[in-house]
Amino acid sequence: MGKGGSGAAAIALCAVLVLASFGTGAQTRPKRTGGTVQDGVRVWNRAPSGDGMAAFYQARGFPPEAIAEIRSHCLLTFGLHNQRADKIWLDLKRWRFQGPDGRELQRVSEADWRVRWNRLGLAAGYRATFRWTQLPEQRDLHPDEPVGGNLALPRVDGPIQVTARFATGPAGQGDDLVIRFEPLQCGPA
């Protein structure tokens, strides 16, 4: 898996373990514990360090300029497991991120990343790997289905409040489910 010295390999292993606990959209075996349950949805999150994130993508051969671009952001890792009997609808446009000064932080969307990768001329394989490590922009979550991945925000010093709204019901016409995550801080750059 990792390339480079033992220190980088250890960081890479930690980063892999952070992402590995979710996969993407993956059901873990054995059953996951930890996090909190809000209205039937188990949620958890982490703020990996810049070194950890960099090591993960470096181990996958990402070029330095792509690593630098990734590191310049605050990447947060989220996991959700729908333990309800009905579907919920993940739509990252309905997530709100509030910085320590109360101002809204603008998430880097999949489309935004495409612009960045186009500017850097990043090869398709790296784009694919990056894409599959991100939280999907939009997805339904069936009962007992988990999903996990990263999302990127501007780097700030101080706690970030994250509030996520989910539509519910088979066609997303049910009452909104609102989940408030514990405040997060960007991992060390």
Binding site: L19, G23, T24, G25, A26, Q27, R60, D144
Partner: protein, 182 residues
């Protein structure tokens, strides 16, 4: 006497012929195990023409006539580590001629693929999707992501994340689906 035996033999054969497809139909009528989504209506499986680590190309279209499990994975994906051994164990229980299995690694190099499979499922081989375009076309719900494609080339089931393919429930379902019986 001979006529009686022949009549009984024909009757037995007729009964068996009637029962044989019922296994597959029964599996579908009773529904898949939890974690397997019915794709309704079924949709044509996207193209999948990829090479394995020996450079040998597989075209999924050539597998028409039997069920195919298409499984997308990556070495960095934790649930993939749990699921891959279950695919190997399932492979040992359900023969290839009943259920073809096509593993597709998403956007990694041969070294990563080899290292991962050597530990998790040394008997299995994988196709490589180096630019991720095939994975994009199939659009699994995440990685790992699995699809069951019927003998006519239509996606009929999609897994919700990683599954234990060697569990009693999944083996029974797959045996029923592929007409293997209990």
């Amino acid at each position: 006497m001979r006529t009686g035996l022949n009549r009984r033999a024909w009757l037995a054969a007729a009964v068996l012929a009637l029962l044989a497809p019922a296994g597959a139909q029964a599996a579908e009528e009773t529904g898949p195990p939890p974690g397997l989504l019915v794709v309704d209506p079924p949709r044509p499986a996207p193209a999948l023409v990829l090479a394995d680590m020996d450079g040998k190309t597989l075209d999924i279209a050539g597998l028409r006539g039997r069920w195919v499990l298409v499984h997308f994975w990556a070495s960095w994906c934790g649930p993939c580590r749990f699921e891959m051994p279950t695919l190997q164990k399932m492979r040992q229980q359900i023969p290839e001629e009943r259920l073809a299995m096509v593993l597709v690694n998403t956007a990694e190099d041969e070294e990563a693929v080899f290292a991962f499979l050597a530990v998790t499922a040394p008997d299995l081989e994988s196709l490589l999707d180096p630019d991720g375009s095939a994975t994009g076309r199939w659009s699994p719900r995440g990685l790992p992501g699995s699809f069951l494609v019927d003998p006519a080339g239509r996606i009929r089931y999609q897994a919700l994340g990683g599954r234990s393919w060697d569990s009693a429930a999944f083996l029974a379902f797959l045996r029923g689906l592929t007409g293997q019986g209990a």
